[in-house]
């Protein structure tokens, strides 16, 4: 049955984040995790107008990973908060990571941590929409419907402001449709129009037969013939003028144009052929859907795709399956399933991008829709609840200053203690890094001009 997360019920916390931050700020400053912050950042002078990244790989972590059990550990906090895991030292002095992320810890000096991300959406789907678009949803309600009034996915906005690379889609997303009961909004182009939708597939890159046969043109179908066919379609379409009358027909037309462009080149086809990679590389990523999806992300970026979104899981998870929604068995799920998979795959992606000379041009974003409650004890006493009030977002590559730590949480990891930022600012940072004006305007169905982001780029984490 379609059941939402237990926390789905409607409600709005109009938290005054800054107020909370100031209430807890003092405690945070005195606790551990305060002193080293921003050391690396002071000298960094952002250079204006420079395009830092050519592509973005967004590793979206549905369900909401615990920040306290990964990168923003609180070993000095009370029993019910610090959790079961021990911190281990990392490549960044003074910034320990969870004992179950040893590989990621060793390459933490490639990453910037943003530890003061916060918002006020407590339900998965609204929060997920926030994390996929950088726009605050109109309501914190699981019933938030995926209408054309809602904002486009990051990748769709990027596509809107990008010169298309012939033969590859600008925006590719796979291998899941995110849903918590209902489909989470923010996974497509919405009012920008279907032509900016992601090229999306649900095929499992880890399956032996993985491939998208619709991309192979038959031998006798050359480009001239394809063009002839396109002209014929145009002729027939003009007859009933459906494209003018119906949104569906209009969308079909835009998607068809895009499909024909992709078919007339080889870029995407070759990128999807994972068998071109050595067994060693494929094993290194992990023989999981997530592992092979991340390998595919590198190949897509190589082929010129501008924005790749890899969804970690199709649903929020919980009760020992799929996503990061660890209400029930937070520590068991993290230790046995979520962290080992993450620690195998994500560091491999960074190393691989680097060895292909792509890391400087590729911004990797690791982010969920929220963090998890500092207080352990949700449900049967072993879980952590939803926590949008403060969590950690990771970025690497694309000009990011490795080892940077932006913002800090309070002693409990509950509220930002300094430099609070929201998903708006993460969005602005992505656009800015790609050389797109974060406040560029798009027009919605009402022809109203709207800025693609209302946030400010976090320039200080870039060199």
């Amino acid at each position: 049955m379609a059941v939402g997360c237990k926390e789905f019920q409607r409600g709005v916390h109009r938290r005054k984040c800054l107020l909370s931050a100031s209430l807890f700020g003092l405690a945070g400053g005195l606790g551990m995790g305060g002193g080293f912050v921003d050391q690396l950042l002071k000298g960094a002078q952002p250079s204006k107008g420079k395009v830092r990244a050519k592509s973005v790989i967004y590793l979206h972590q549905y369900g909401g990973p615990s920040h306290i059990d990964t990168f923003d550990m609180k070993p000095l906090a009370a029993d019910g908060i610090r959790g079961e895991f021990s911190p281990i030292s990392s490549a960044v002095a003074g910034s320990p990571v969870c004992e179950y992320l040893p590989r990621w810890g060793k390459q933490l000096d490639r990453w910037a941590q943003i530890r003061s991300v916060h918002h006020d959406m407590k339900n998965h789907n609204p929060a997920c929409y926030y994390s996929l678009t950088g726009k605050r949803p109109p309501t914190d309600d699981i019933r938030l419907r995926d209408t054309l009034e809602l904002f486009p996915a990051f990748g769709s906005s990027v596509a809107k402001f990008s010169e298309p690379v012939p033969g590859v889609p600008t925006f590719v997303a796979y291998p899941h449709v995110l849903r918590d009961g209902a489909i989470a909004p923010g996974q497509h182009a919405s009012f920008l129009g279907k032509q900016f939708d992601p090229y999306f597939f649900q095929a499992d890159p880890n399956a032996p037969e993985f491939g998208l046969p619709e991309l192979q043109l038959p031998a006798n179908l050359d480009l001239a013939r394809l063009e002839r066919r396109r002209e014929l379609v145009e002729l027939i379409d003009q007859e009933q003028r459906l494209i003018e009358k119906s949104n569906d027909a209009k969308g079909l037309d835009q998607l068809q144009q895009q499909a024909l462009r992709i078919l007339s080149s080889t870029g995407l086809r070759d990128a999807l052929d994972l068998s071109a990679e050595s067994r060693a590389v494929r094993d290194a990523y992990g023989r999981s859907t997530y592992g092979q999806s991340c390998l595919l992300a590198r190949r897509l970026v190589q082929a010129g795709v501008r924005f790749v979104t890899v969804y970690f899981s199709q649903s929020i998870g919980g009760k020992g399956s799929e996503g990061w929604d660890t209400h029930q068995e937070n520590f068991k799920d993290l230790r046995e399933r979520l962290l080992p998979m993450t620690d195998q795959t994500v560091p491999t992606l960074i190393e691989d991008l680097e060895s292909h000379g792509l890391l400087d041009d590729t911004l990797v974003l690791w982010m969920g829709e929220f963090g998890r409650s500092p207080q352990v004890g949700d449900r049967d006493g072993k879980g952590r609840g939803h926590w949008p009030d403060c969590y950690t977002v990771m970025m690497a590559g694309g000009g990011v200053q490795g080892g940077a730590i932006f913002g800090q949480s309070d002693a409990k990891g509950a509220y930002p203690a300094s430099d609070p930022v929201g998903p708006e600012d993460i969005a602005a940072t992505l656009y800015w890094a790609l050389g797109i004006d974060p406040h560029a305007e798009v027009y919605d169905t009402q022809n109203r001009p709207l800025a693609i982001s209302t946030g400010e780029p976090i320039e200080r984490i870039f060199y």
């Binding site: 909370s20 309501t139 003018e244 209009k250």
Partner: protein, 920 residues
């Protein structure tokens, strides 16, 4: 004076004055009206105003609100509506007033705060004689003093309300409120009452609900928040009283220093509160909580609500209107009545573009049809507002045109007239008839799930009989493909999927469903059999219902959603937050299914841990136990009890259980509950029109009303009078004006209401997965072989006839065929995607059929080019090529070096045209 105004306004409307002078006059008029208002209040001021009607002096033109022009005259036949008819006022619960000007076309304006309106309070003595006006206020001007009755009318915080000083104890006889607006007058009665002491279960609970304290994301959560737990939305006042007053040694309230109560300090964020500031210290809510604590924080008696009335029930707001008011009145079992507008929680059905403030003002940003759900204590209500949007001038034009159209029309079906009436009142232009070829294609696709063949098209074209459509519809209803189309639909809804059913079981269940349709057995009869059958699912396939629905809760949820359109899932853990259903209802329904037992005969799943896979037969039986289920909220066992849809129907728990419990249930479901009829009628309508009168078709609730309530009523009546016969009812729908309308323009212009929800036009949608796949097979002449997984009948050559679901993702799943894991209509996706475009442009499915060595093209190569083009257009688009299409296509074939390849190109283009891929 007013005559003078309306003279100018009528001249303006007739357009006899130049545009410049309109602006000047209008500006002057605004100023003037203001003085008229004052003049009415004070006759001394009046005369100089009357003496100076000359407005020629150069007044600087300021922007004029266009709606004033509209307001200028009252059309003949207009009337005032005051809500509520009886105003109930106490010192703590002032009576709010909503006044609408309803025009002859049925559209209205909220004029509650119009500066032209005057309100007077008069007294009706015991003799029945009215005594003169004593209190009077006009529009937005407030009168601060209480009059001699202890009443004052006041415009405050965006609403007009009637406040009492001391409960009106001094008034003998009745009071009346007289509303005047441009010569119109309407009267409401006033009842003044004294307040009762603040009661926990009334004032405190409604304050907590309105402030959001007891929502699921806050303290209403099953686990509470921050150590405090309240019942969800105040369901259980006794529980909440204990939490607030008794728990932890009264730490949450301080009766000696009420303002120091932790409850208030948290709620106002004076001390740190995770939920932030919920209540303002200046607010009504704060005052109520302080009063309650100061008076001893008593629990008081229980507050039993008798009913909750929301006014108006529905209102159509005229063009350009953006605001409407509602009023909520609660009646309690102790006989008292209160205006609780400010004590409710409002939730609009449209998630954005609309706000409802705490005074019941609904404010929208564009045209919309919105239903506002109202929660007060344990009661729910709703009110529907249709904002026509657009510009008044456009609307006027449409009205005139459609009025002419309607006068000429004679309706094919009674419900067609109902649709026309609504279109006129919503100022929607009804579409003309679709052309014959479009109609035929649509008819075939919705009934038999395939395209008409060229010979069928030609036969239809040449059929000149007046009863042509009747005969064609009858023929299609008798076609076995019709039975398959409905077996597919019911297989979707009843979760007929191979894993739990086994492929053979899925085939048998599908076939049983098909036979019910084929024999046109009354639908309620076979549904009753379906939900009451036991035995081997192989020998008695309807017993499969309990194979696919494996526990009492799931069976209850499915029955409620599939047959009654009730989404009762929420009530499993707590009373439904958006509907009337309680946990009692949920478990009462689930209790029917507690004695169902399942025994596997030959279960050999590949993976022993996968409990979702059952192979072989399964035998359903009932145990001898008495059917009952544990109600977790009440910690007791409850007996079977059906959902109660009407207040009058009173079903006793466990009644009539001496008979077979499932038979008892079937009787309740199909005969006693009274809502299955409209639900089935709506489902059937949805199949043919692409959207339900209630949409989605499986979500019936007061807060999601039918787009046209009268249409649903008439359809239900029709379905009943046809003896619940699917075929006869379908015949009526298919032979209606509504079904033969041309498809409309659904491009998203938020300034006007869309036409398809009201069936002013036929909706355009992408063809569903199965008919699309079959159409490609038919057009190319290459059948698809689909594996069923069943040994007995291992292949079908039509996607429409596939009993179960595909094992692997492919063409059908790309186009949204459901996995049948939900009973929700929403599981079938009608979205469009790049993956679909690639599948059509170059997917194996289309490619292989296009190039197959023995397909339709193999024959066409040998024919004349003109004939070949004709046939390809007829087979795929079900119409003849236009002159231009024919010339271009024939020329292409004539000049092609390889005719076969050129034919492939043409057919490819036809399959990839938007016309082919859509049902319209």
């Amino acid at each position: 004076m007013l005559k003078w105004v309306s003279y100018w306004v009528s001249r303006l409307v007739r357009g006899s004055i130049s545009k410049v002078s309109i602006a000047v006059v209008m500006t002057a008029m605004v100023l003037f009206l203001d003085r008229v208002v004052k003049a009415e209040l004070d006759p001394v001021v009046a005369s100089p105003v009357v003496a100076s009607p000359v407005v020629a002096s150069p007044v600087v033109a300021s922007p004029v609100d266009a709606s004033l022009v509209e307001l200028g005259t009252v059309e003949v036949g207009s009337r005032l509506e005051i809500y509520p008819e009886v105003l109930h006022a106490t010192p703590r619960y002032p009576a709010s007033i909503a006044v609408y000007l309803v025009k002859p076309d049925g559209t209205s304006l909220d004029i509650t705060q119009s500066s032209e309106m005057s309100l007077g309070i008069s007294r009706v003595a015991d003799s029945g004689q009215e005594q003169g006006d004593e209190a009077r206020i006009v529009g937005a001007n407030s009168q601060d003093a209480f009059d001699s009755y202890g009443l004052r009318l006041r415009a405050s915080e965006g609403r007009l309300c009637l406040e009492t000083q001391d409960g009106g104890m001094r008034v003998a006889g009745g009071l009346r409120l007289k509303v005047r607006f441009r010569g119109l007058e309407e009267i409401a009665a006033i009842r003044m009452q004294a307040d009762k002491p603040v009661t926990f279960s009334r004032e405190v609970i409604s304050t907590l609900t309105k402030s959001g304290c007891n929502l699921g994301t806050c303290h209403g959560n099953l686990h509470g928040k921050g150590g405090m737990r309240l019942s969800l939305r105040g369901d259980d006042p006794g529980f909440d009283y204990y939490r607030l007053v008794a728990e932890f040694g009264q730490r949450r309230i301080d009766t000696f220093e009420p303002k120091n109560s932790l409850l208030l300090q948290k709620a106002t964020a004076q001390v740190a509160h995770q939920g932030g500031k919920r209540i303002d210290m200046q607010s009504l809510e704060y005052g109520v909580l302080v009063d309650w604590i100061a008076s001893g924080a008593n629990e008081g008696g229980a507050t039993e609500l008798a009913s909750l009335e929301v006014y108006p029930k529905t209102q159509q707001l005229a063009a350009e209107q953006r605001e409407a008011r509602l009023v909520v009145v609660a009646k309690y079992l102790d006989g008292t009545t209160r205006d609780v507008t400010s004590w409710c929680r409002f939730e609009p059905s449209v998630p954005s573009g609309v706000t409802v403030d705490s005074f019941g003002r609904v404010i929208v940003g564009h045209a919309m049809d919105v239903t506002v759900s109202v929660t007060y204590l344990s009661a729910r209500g709703a009110s529907r507002f249709v904002f026509l949007g657009g510009r008044s001038q456009d609307a006027l034009k449409v009205t005139t045109e459609s009025a002419i159209g309607a006068a000429q029309a004679s309706w094919k079906q009674p419900f067609d007239e109902v649709i026309s009436q609504q279109c006129r009142s919503l100022q929607l232009q009804e579409a003309t008839q679709a052309d014959a070829n479009t109609f035929l294609r649509r008819l075939f696709l919705v009934t038999v799930g395939r395209l008409p063949t060229p010979s069928e098209i030609l036969a239809y074209e040449q059929d000149m009989g007046l009863d042509r459509n009747e005969r064609w519809v009858d023929q299609l209803l008798a076609d076995p493909a019709f039975d398959y189309a409905w077996a597919l639909r019911w297989s979707d809804l009843l979760r007929n999927e191979d894993k739990v059913m086994s492929s053979h079981g899925a085939y048998l269940f599908h076939d049983w469903l098909r036979l019910q349709i084929a024999s046109d057995r009354p639908m309620k009869e076979w549904i009753a059999e379906l939900v009451s059958s036991t035995g081997s699912t192989y020998e008695n396939p309807p017993a499969s219902f309990y194979r696919t629905h494996r526990d009492p809760e799931v069976a209850a949820e499915s029955v409620a959603q599939v047959f009654l359109g009730v989404r009762i899932q929420c009530a499993k853990c707590h009373n439904h937050p958006f509907d009337r259903w309680k946990q009692d209802d949920y478990y009462g329904l689930a209790a029917y299914f507690t004695t169902v037992e399942r025994k596997q005969i030959d279960n050999k799943p590949n993976d022993a841990l996968d409990k979702h896979v059952i192979t072989g037969d399964e035998v359903i039986s009932l145990t001898a136990k008495s059917p009952e289920i544990r109600h977790p909220g009440r910690s007791k066992m409850v007996s079977p009890r059906g959902l109660v849809f009407q207040e009058s129907a009173n079903i006793q728990e466990g009644e009539g259980l001496d008979e077979d419990v499932l038979k008892r249930f079937a009787r309740w479901l199909t005969e006693e509950n009274g809502t299955i009829d409209s639900n089935l009628a709506n489902r059937i309508w949805y199949q043919y029109f692409g959207r339900g009168v209630v949409e989605p078709p499986d979500d019936f609730r007061e807060s999601n009303p039918p787009s046209n309530p009268e249409l649903l009523r008439v359809l239900t009546e029709e379905f009943r009078s046809q003896g619940y016969s699917l075929k006869r009812f379908s015949r009526a729908l298919l032979l209606s004006d509504a079904f033969s309308k041309a498809s409309g323009d659904d491009s998203s212009d938020e300034n006007v209401l869309p036409s398809s929800p009201y069936f002013a036009s036929y909706s355009i949608r992408r063809m569903a997965a199965e008919p699309l796949m079959d159409a490609i097979s038919d057009v190319t002449g290459v059948p698809t072989k689909l594996k069923t997984g069943d040994e007995e009948r291992s292949e079908v050559n039509s996607a429409m006839r596939m009993p179960g679901v595909p094992k692997k993702p492919g063409f059908l799943t790309t186009f949204g065929k459901p996995n049948r894991l939900l009973v929700c209509e929403c599981e079938r996706s009608n979205q469009i995607s790049l993956g679909q475009s690639l599948a059509m442009a170059n997917g194996v499915e289309v490619r292989d059929k296009l190039t197959a060595t023995s397909n339709r093209l193999t024959v066409l190569v040998g024919m004349g080019n003109r004939e070949a083009v004709e046939e390809l257009f007829l087979t795929s688009l079900c119409r003849h090529p236009s002159h231009r299409e024919r010339e271009v296509a024939v020329e292409m074939l004539n000049s092609a070096p390889d005719k076969r390849m050129a034919l492939e190109d043409l057919l490819w283009a036809l399959l990839n045209s938007k016309e082919f891929m859509t049902l319209r």
